[in-house]
Symmetry: C2
Subunit: 187 residues, 2 copies
């Protein structure tokens, strides 16, 4: 049975068994329990995570201590603070587990190493970066043109599973509305 990470990478580029073995040797596994952090504000992100099992959120705390959720990530999604990871500067965000999680991660150094050693992986990550950018663009568009209700419906349509796994107040934070408003959208 092929490893899910291999399946994931092969959605973009094909790999030989040896290539995948080599790539995989650059990853580590870690388990985290609900409420544990992957990254905290002030740290420099040293790892990019790939989720085997579980669900996490990345968020930012404003001056009033209010939480603004940047994104969620579930099985087979990548997550880190890309700003901190790419530029290697202290992070402004937190990432923590909403459920008990099983994670793969690759260190900054190993990612760098793989990028220069394996052109295929350089292309893989380049493609991922492009797709990530497109997804963010779409979210901006949605924030500009859609009402809270519309954004809610779109999210529900796109990620129905999310709604069974994360509290509504976090959905609200992700959408940029108060939890009370979200609670009233259905009626």
């Amino acid at each position: 049975m092929t490893h899910p990470l291999r399946q994931h990478i092969e959605e973009i580029i094909d790999l030989t068994d040896e290539e995948f073995e080599y790539i995989f040797s650059h990853f580590e596994t870690v388990k985290k329990r609900k409420h544990q952090y992957l990254i905290q504000e002030g740290e420099i992100a040293q790892k990019e995570y790939w989720i085997l099992k579980g669900c996490v959120k990345s968020y930012f705390l404003d001056e009033n201590g209010k939480e603004h959720i940047l994104r969620f990530a579930m099985e087979h999604w990548w997550i880190t603070d890309y700003e901190s990871f790419v530029i290697q500067t202290p992070s402004n965000i937190y990432i923590d587990c909403l459920e008990d999680c099983e994670l793969l991660y690759i260190s900054y150094e190993n990612r760098d190493k793989l990028t220069s050693e394996m052109h295929k992986m350089e292309r893989f990550w380049a493609k991922k970066s492009k797709l990530g950018r497109i997804a963010l663009q779409k979210r901006i568009l949605s924030l500009l043109k859609n009402s809270a209700k519309e954004r809610y419906d779109l999210l529900l349509e796109q990620y129905p599973k999310l709604f069974q796994r994360v509290p509504k107040k976090m959905i609200a934070s992700y959408l940029g509305v108060s939890r009370e408003t979200l609670s009233r959208l259905n009626s």
Copy 2:
């Protein structure tokens, strides 16, 4: 005197004279007058532009014909519809000139060619893509946590030149507020 495009690329990677010459041979120059389009909805983006002189906006028209501005671009900025350009699907957006413009552009094919022929350029564009993603992330954060007034002040602080060149109603559209509201923010 070094070409501004060379200066721009060399902010990220160093080039020999020959390398720049070669890269540059893949670009074309074009002049556009105010109100002319670089891309229209429905077209597949075939070119990525680099602005030598002038100012453009990229925007989306919603069902009611309301314009939502995704971004502006001025001298030494890149612009295209990345979604359309990267995936080669029909565009949902328009890009047009706010002033008479002088532009360089590279075709999709030439960019692809350069990416595979010159590893330096592959790295250049990968870096640009990462930085673009980080910028979009920041904008989302700003839309989530800042009020209209705060977003206005932040934009003014970051791109003061923009305010002298583009109508306020477009700034409003970029910020996601009505022109009337923007007009009232200063008081």
